[in-house]
């Protein structure tokens, strides 16, 4: 079985449309981020406590809410998830406070003595740890990008590295925008997903670049932009194929992986889609734009390149 072989799609010719499309997505993402006052950080980065309780019988959210209030946590966020017996309690803490889960649990046990529960999950992150994790996440992404820039410049050319990095920023900003638009939380796991997207999208981009590098040597008579277009077309079936297998497992993870890795898998779904798109429509066209400007400066029309 084969599909998408011997395609002659004019990716480069249509790059303006792609750039406008991406630009709109990015603008929408940034607008959403601004309107919502920045990313919706989870307690990993803000500091706070979150608890998941599993009750033996159905429980009224109002009872839990007033119990938590009685324990002195007015601003706690309480919601049910997954079913009428599962309750999620979240307390954001701005200041270091010794104990939050114990008094809440005590208060709930007192209020609902004949509906026992088990604590499924407790996550408490002190504000200092939150700040540390924020810095660490920021630097991790920065360091990763730096190494990529170095490696790609070494194996290819500097401009290839620029193309790859721009595509990566494109992917991250759009995924961040989707998360902001849907009101999803940025947790440690999501940062891990972002870095995985970086790795994945780069992988895709490198494969196309590799073809370009090869074709630049073989197809000397072709114009620069058509070499790039041919290269994208040649690697298109691989690009689609790998995206499909990756998407399959990520979708399975999203639907069957359980709520703990649900949003992680969602980030990957968005990332794989955007990452595949960007390696075709963003990373390579940047090479063409760059080359065009270079030729213009030299006063020569875009021609074959040694």
């Amino acid at each position: 079985m084969q599909f998408l072989t011997n395609t002659h799609i004019d990716f480069i010719g249509n790059r303006k449309a792609a750039l406008i499309f991406s630009g709109l997505l990015i603008l929408a993402g940034i607008a959403s981020l601004i309107l919502r006052g920045g990313p919706n950080y989870g307690i990993d980065f803000l500091g706070g406590t979150s608890m998941e309780l599993h009750f033996e019988k159905d429980v009224a959210i109002e009872d839990v809410r007033s119990a938590v209030r009685e324990a002195g946590f007015e601003s706690a966020e309480i919601k049910s998830f997954g079913g009428p017996r599962e309750i999620l309690i979240r307390v954001e803490e701005q200041e270091a406070q010794s104990e939050i889960s114990a008094p809440i649990q005590e208060s709930i046990s007192q209020r609902l003595p004949d509906n026992p529960y088990i604590v499924q999950l407790v996550e408490k992150v002190g504000p200092k740890i939150g700040a540390e994790l924020r810095t660490a996440a920021f630097f991790a992404i920065l360091i990763a990008l730096f190494f990529i820039l170095l490696y790609v410049s070494w194996r290819f050319e500097f401009i290839f590295a620029v193309g790859a990095i721009v595509a990566l920023f494109h992917d991250i900003i759009i995924t961040l925008g989707v998360f902001s638009f849907l009101g999803l939380e940025i947790t440690l796991a999501i940062i891990a997903a972002f870095l995985t997207i970086v790795g994945y999208s780069l992988n895709d981009t490198i494969v196309v670049f590799d073809r370009i590098r090869e074709n630049l040597k073989v197809l000397r008579r072709e114009k620069y932009d058509s070499i790039i277009n041919i290269s994208i077309n040649q690697s298109l079936s691989r690009t689609i194929m790998t995206s499909v297998t990756t998407l399959i497992v990520v979708m399975v993870l999203y639907f069957f992986g359980g709520e703990v890795i649900n949003s992680f898998a969602f980030a990957l779904i968005v990332g794989v889609l955007i990452g595949t798109y960007s390696s075709v429509f963003i990373a390579s066209p940047i090479l063409v734009e760059w080359e065009k400007r270079r030729e213009l400066k030299k006063g020569r029309p875009m021609a074959k390149r040694a």
Partner: protein, 684 residues
């Protein structure tokens, strides 16, 4: 080519053999655990013991005894029948002990457990080390701590800077008069280092005695301790054992006339302030600079309601305040004359503070005006639990001499005893003092017969017995424990010793055992579904060649598991996610190769030539693409905390292994077929 293939085949055989050897214990362990589970439920059925009881007895080595004592028996069953099961279980348990360290470890999120990060309270430690504690150093320490935390800087750097700005020499508070600032700082850093080491030691002792299998207690940075406890049921109890400072002090009650004098003074100050309308000076407002941290968590009892403009005279008698929490219990008759006493009550001859009033009373006691008139050598302390008296609950409050007669470091042993006489049937904690402690105790008790000696734990009174006679034996008791668990826990912390300074939980991640099992189940089923779909998809798209890639994929997963087991890595839920992601991405190398082979075939090459150049040309691409992915995975590993590390680890292993299986293994299979038969067409 042939030689090359022999070499490759040997490598593959070695890798598979190694993987089999390394994975064997994990395989064994699953079987052993299944058997053990069966034995557990058999014993559970025949005795009154729960699974946890059996486990505890098993690790203590007295399961046989426990079974005999708690034998219930089903029809026709004798104790001996159960004892054979006990023997079997003991044997299996021993085997598990040897196989477990060599198997794939499951992370806390998969087997249930808790991950706690504690931080040493540096200001508290330094206050303890300080030669004199005044407001200047206390605020400096608190501010330095705050700044260091918010700006993510070293505490000592910030402290030095702050004190220099204010022109305060460190030697006023620490070290010798002649020491320079930098000498003192380095000494303090040593002390902090010491303190964290001692904390580690004390926590190890406490957790060992609490009985958790394979706890992990490690230092992180210069002032943190990471505690990982797997498979524990009662996280709350474990936390309270780990987290208590457990500073035990024996303090004598102040003389009666001193106490009377102190109360008169407080009443006088309050009356004066009230008549001047200077309510603020009494810390009536909830100004956080006046209210100490301890108060904040108590239910707020606002004085404004009572002492504010409108309501002072509206209260009648001993007003039972309405249900709103912002009121206090007040004895109106004495309020005009002795306003402080009006907030208190007489509980069995002792001073009782209605629970509603505790916060208010604390605030008054801590207000500058009151502090100014209190003698330096006494302090007000509360009992650690309330007493019920009529409709209301009260906390008893005592005036104690500040300087302790004896400290917890003089305790040589502590255990739970069942009380006699007055506390018949109750759990009490018996303490044995060291020789030196016994001498001091004997002297103190001898000199203070008829007085009361408070036993104070972390600033709260746990017991305040009357001294009836001199006690030369060096034995003392703490009574009034709510239940036997509380008594056990107190004995543990007393035996293990006090922490050098309080510690705080700054990060906690707890996963219940059922959620862990749920995650394993969902993780395995996702991996299985994902694998199946990808395998079928590859088979359909690349036909026989796709199946070759599928073999490589299965081998890839197998070797990933082997690497995890071989390097004693821990498998976490994100780790499982990493493996699942690998399933999708590992076939990429084969996709690249196959697409190349298809191209070469289209250009008219023979099968063998197409395979050769397909592999040759794809290799460079695969290398570049995988190195960059590996780079990001390694950065992720470096930066990540526990769970993320697990993900990055399996992802990295998966990438490296996939290069081996997708390039080397599939090549050998292709070459095997193409060398035996001349293929006109390749199924690709």
């Amino acid at each position: 080519m042939r030689k090359n293939n022999i070499f490759r085949t040997i490598i593959i055989a070695l890798a598979v053999a190694w993987a089999l050897v390394v994975l064997f214990p994990t395989f064994q362990l699953t079987n052993q655990e299944k058997k053990a589970e069966a034995y557990y439920s058999l014993i559970e059925k025949s005795t009154t013991l729960s699974k946890n009881d059996i486990k505890a007895a098993l690790s203590a080595g007295n399961l046989e005894l426990a079974v005999r004592d708690n034998f219930r028996g089903n029809d026709g069953e004798s104790v001996d029948d159960v004892l054979t099961t006990v023997n079997d279980l003991t044997e299996i348990d021993k085997k598990i002990e040897t196989t477990e360290p060599n198997s794939i470890k499951l992370g806390l999120d998969l087997q249930g457990g808790t991950y706690l990060v504690y931080e040493l309270n540096m200001p508290a430690l330094l206050e303890k080390l300080s030669k004199q504690n005044d407001e200047v150093i206390e605020t400096a320490l608190a501010n330095a701590d705050k700044t260091a935390k918010s700006e993510n800087r070293d505490f000592f750097d910030v402290l030095t800077e702050m004190l220099q700005e204010k022109g305060i020499a460190l030697n006023r508070y620490f070290g010798r008069r002649t020491d320079s600032d930098s000498e003192i700082i380095s000494k303090l850093k040593d002390e902090a280092h010491d303190a964290i080491e001692r904390t580690l030691e004390v926590l190890r002792n406490r957790i060992d005695q609490f009985g958790v299998s394979e706890p992990s207690i490690t230092k992180q940075g210069s002032d943190r301790v990471v505690v990982e406890l797997a498979g524990i049921q009662d996280v709350g109890r474990a936390k309270s054992i780990i987290g208590t400072t457990a500073l035990l002090e024996f303090q004598l009650e102040a003389e009666q006339d001193v106490v009377r004098g102190v109360f008169n003074e407080i009443n006088r100050v309050m009356k004066k302030d009230l008549s001047e309308g200077d309510i603020d000076s009494l810390a009536v407002t909830s100004d956080s600079s006046v209210a100490p941290a301890k108060v904040r968590k108590d239910k707020e009892v606002s004085l404004e309601e009572v002492f504010g403009e409108s309501s002072i005279l509206e209260e009648k008698g001993v007003a039972q305040a309405d249900t709103s929490d912002s009121t206090v219990l007040l004895d109106e008759d004495v309020f005009q004359d002795r306003p402080f006493d009006a907030l208190l009550a007489n509980v069995g001859g002792d001073i009782g503070v209605p629970t509603k009033n505790v916060a208010t009373v604390r605030r008054i006691l801590n207000s500058p005006d009151v502090q100014a008139v209190l003698p330096n050598d006494i302090e007000f302390l509360f009992f650690n639990r309330p007493v019920q008296n009529g409709e209301n609950s009260f906390y008893r409050m005592y005036v104690l001499k500040k300087e302790p007669e004896l400290r917890g470091d003089q305790i040589s042993n502590a255990d739970v005893q069942i009380g006699s006489q007055l506390q018949a049937g109750q759990s009490v904690v018996g303490m044995e003092l060291t020789n030196e402690g016994a001498k001091i105790f004997s002297k103190v008790t001898g000199a203070n017969v008829g007085k009361r000696l408070a036993i104070v734990l972390d600033g709260k009174i746990v017991s305040i017995p009357n001294i009836n006679e001199r006690i030369p034996s060096g034995r003392a008791q703490i009574s009034g424990m709510a239940n036997i668990d509380e008594a056990k826990d107190l004995a543990i912390v007393l035996r293990a010793g006090a922490l050098p300074a309080p510690i705080e939980v700054i990060e906690e991640r707890t996963v219940g055992p059922s959620l862990g099992q749920d995650s394993i189940r969902k993780g395995t089923s996702s991996a299985f579904f994902g694998l199946m779909i990808v395998i079928v998809f590859m088979g359909v798209y690349y036909r026989l060649s796709g199946l070759v890639a599928d073999i490589a994929l299965l081998l890839n997963l197998f070797i990933i598991m082997a690497v995890l087991a071989g390097f004693h890595a821990t498998l976490t839920l994100p780790g499982v996610a990493g493996i699942i992601l690998t399933i999708g991405m590992a076939v990429d190398a084969n996709v690249l190769i196959f697409e190349r082979i298809r191209e070469e075939l289209r250009s008219g090459k023979t099968v063998r030539a197409a395979i050769d150049s397909g592999y040759g040309r794809a290799f460079k691409t695969i290398l570049d693409a995988n190195v960059t992915t590996l780079l990001t995975a390694l950065v992720l590993y470096q930066f990540g905390t526990g769970p993320i590390k697990g993900f990055a680890l399996t992802l990295s292993i998966g990438i490296v292994v996939s290069m081996f299986t997708a390039i080397v293994v599939t090549r050998v299979i292709f070459d095997f077929f193409t060398s035996r038969m001349t293929l006109k067409k390749l199924s690709i």
